[in-house]
Symmetry: C2
Subunit: 491 residues, 2 copies
């Protein structure tokens, strides 16, 4: 723990990579582009999963599990979706290995065990799921069908980055079917709201809710809604998407239902997902040059207690600390007592700082005699003397304060880095200067969007929902516009 991280200022990218490793979150594996999620990182992901899963169930969804593999003929049924993912598909072609006759002790693919039809490792599950829904849906009474799946998916990527872009990642994918377009759109928007609430209240991550332009839409969707967040290097990150699929998959897989009048109609679909990419957002939005900063609601360890003692006095001190530890645990606070006698307090401080534990309590016999406990906040590094008498209440309140402060800080940063511009020069100057979101009029055409992307590397992150229309002119072509888009360079 003695070695310092590269600073964000020096090299944001190196800072991120080092932090992910040093905090014990994840590492690269022997498989190109696939990561190992280490126990501490996985514990955070588990907290995310548990919270989201509860939110999905409260909104009426059930979990199920569909196959990892998609036969090629099903995969290609929805053409736009297939085309969108074709270039990043891992393909299973054989189902057996055999001893390599040329290399003793080695194996080779058995040429006689070639599949008649190749299997695609799911990059997303619409195809396999809609081919199943065909058998599950006959009548309006079978609708809505509200299903979610927690799964791994594979999208072959050339340039990968821990959590942010990996060949295999973990996610959830909701897939719902409805009798009307209105209901499906309402579901799409509801799940966007669920994602936004989760991001803001649990990850402490302020997000903009919006709709994607056709260029950035999910392959096979009629509309893609998203939440977009800002990282500390001024780049945006798409943190979740919710798609209105129209009747595209219902038509591709011939999923029809008998309506109340007895007529046959294709059903309307949605799909929505968040992934381990959220881990990347969490890390990049809040952490600092000393390591991870975790919002208390997602911290596997919320409070670490470090005994401060002279040689030989540890056991006696621990006896006095136990009631504090137990009091916190009884309040439902996740607390760890770092009683290692092999490391000095300074080393422990740095280690738990690196791991982003929200509150550190350093407790010595003298403090206890004086009826106080020294607390340190990870977010502000502020130190506080807490009265021993109500240490549990104080810590509980402190955790709430930290959760709120982390959000507020990220929100201030985001607001300070969201710039309205009216000319292309200003647009470029902001991007090359402080970065962040640039809010500008453009003529709404794919051509202009692509031109801007080529010239500035910025994309339309979204057209925000709930923003009033505004007349203006395109910063590039001067053509009329009725709405500002949020642009940014993005992960």
């Amino acid at each position: 723990m003695s070695k310092k991280l590269p600073t964000r200022q020096e090299d944001y990218s190196a800072w991120y990579n080092e932090l992910v490793k040093r905090a014990g979150l994840a590492e690269n594996s022997a498989v190109r582009g696939c990561m190992v999620i280490k126990p501490y990182g996985y514990a955070i992901w588990e907290k995310m999963q548990r919270t989201l899963d509860d939110m999905f169930k409260r909104t009426g969804h059930e979990n199920a599990y569909f196959p990892l593999f998609v036969p090629k003929s099903l995969f290609e049924a929805e053409e736009k979706n297939a085309e969108g993912f074709a270039k990043e598909c891992a393909v299973v072609t054989h189902y057996r290995l055999q001893n390599d006759p040329d290399k003793p002790g080695k194996l080779r693919v058995d040429p006689n065990a070639k599949l008649e039809e190749e299997l695609i490792v799911r990059p997303t599950s619409e195809a396999i799921i809609w081919s199943t829904y065909k058998n599950w849906i006959q009548s309006y009474r079978d609708l809505p069908l509200l299903i979610n799946q927690w799964a791994n998916v594979v999208r072959w990527e050339m340039r990968t980055r821990l959590f942010l872009r990996t060949a295999e990642f973990l996610w959830q994918e909701g897939h719902t079917a409805h009798a009307t377009a209105t209901e499906a759109v309402a579901e799409t928007r509801q799940m966007l709201d669920v994602y936004a609430e989760f991001a803001e209240e649990h990850i402490a991550l302020p997000v903009v809710k919006g709709v994607k332009t056709p260029n950035e839409r999910f392959a096979g969707a009629e509309d893609t809604y998203c939440i977009e967040a800002l990282m500390q290097d001024g780049k945006a990150l798409q943190a979740g998407t919710s798609h209105f699929l129209g009747q595209n998959f219902a038509k591709a897989f011939d999923v029809q239902f008998a309506n109340k009048e007895g007529g046959l109609e294709h059903v309307w679909g949605t799909s929505w997902g968040v992934s381990t990419r959220l881990m990347g957002a969490l890390i990049m939005a809040h952490s600092d040059d000393e390591g991870l900063v975790l919002p208390p609601k997602l911290a596997p360890i919320q409070v670490v207690i470090i005994p401060i003692y002279k040689t030989g006095e540890l056991d006696a001190l621990i006896e006095r600390i136990r009631p504090i530890q137990q009091g916190l645990a009884q309040r439902g606070i996740s607390v760890k007592l770092d009683a290692r006698d092999t490391e000095r307090p300074g080393f422990k401080f740095a280690e738990w700082e690196m791991k982003g534990v929200p509150v550190r309590l350093a407790i010595g016999a003298r403090d206890l005699d004086a009826g106080t406990v020294e607390a340190a906040r990870r977010d502000t590094k502020q130190k506080l003397q807490l009265p021993l008498a109500d240490v549990v209440d104080s810590v509980d309140k402190l955790l709430n304060d930290i959760q709120l402060n982390i959000y507020t800080k990220a929100k201030s940063y985001r607001d300070a880095h969201t710039t309205r511009v009216d000319t292309y020069d200003e647009f470029k100057a902001v991007l090359d200067g402080e970065g962040g979101f640039v809010v500008a009029h453009y003529d709404g055409t794919s051509e202009t969007e692509e031109l801007i992307k080529e010239q500035t590397k910025a994309t339309v992150r979204c057209l925000p929902l709930n923003e009033p229309d505004e007349d203006g002119v395109c910063i590039v072509t001067g053509k009329p516009s009725t709405r500002r888009a949020w642009f940014a360079r993005a992960y």
Copy 2:
């Protein structure tokens, strides 16, 4: 729901297949050998997962996640393990599709996107995990390493059966590393005990704990411990395994640690797993000709309330039922009120019977006026009048009784179908008669074991732990034996 199941007597196999479908647990998918786990089945699996996960954490394990793919060169490093799984490996050879020039709108594998090294879809994760542990373990201070993973795995199977044998299945796999053989063996045995406790207390499934013969050992293990259960058709089912790996994987992947004296040693390993196969065990052990019978601890719905009413009186009745429903929910009982006005009570009774809900409350206005509620137990089909005044306590007690009764019934069946025999003729007669476990002496050689398997289709399920030695003679060869083995025909 009107159609009856085939009876167990008529056709046990058809009964099982139909039950799995009709109870909404799982179905076959468009992918050969892969199943879709439907919401009701997945809800049971989730309860299993949650309970097991808590047990793993209480015994000091942490979750992590390792890649789905294993490069062939890593896969073949531990030769016995590789050999054991080589014949059932799905292999990824390509990472891209392209438009098929011969078939517009269709895709084909891009011949230019062939992987330099093939990737095996994990049939089990020892190889990828031990190749990672190499970097995680340097010193005795890094040990023990106690990690579990929840994941999907793929073993290509020719003859598949929902839950019992599928090409893809869900499981957990624990992988631990230790400084000494003694400690690793203790871990192996501890996890066997965890599995046995889970099986008996939650699945209500009596199990025998034992050790496998070398013939039946996990490929790459020094010893395989297992829990074995008996199904209602007299066939055994291996419900969980825990392997002592010795130093095999540590040597294959060169995982060494510096001991306290500064010397280098290879570490000692274990692995242990249970899978969605447990769903098959649960279904087959307890269910009857009317459908599923679920132990209350794993039932997604523990109590279903069915209002009994005359036309027009439903709303008023529901108002009176609500307090009962809320009372049960507050006690932590999972309760569903089936207030559908479109189906008759008899239809609902059959449907919830098929789904195995442990307790059914049929409630009419007249019952409530009389201060009683009619309860029906799913396990015994017994009907009881519960006093309305303490219906929550009564139902709570009833659920405990049911959990216990289901276990006791399965245990009685198992004990009644466990036969000690001393001759090969008796052995065969029992197998061809009532089946079950046949407890017999054999000479302990692989040859005799294989001969018995060929002639009777029975295998050594295990050599039970905690059984006293006993002198005897092999039923086949007449050679001396010091211990009886448990044989059975098995899933």
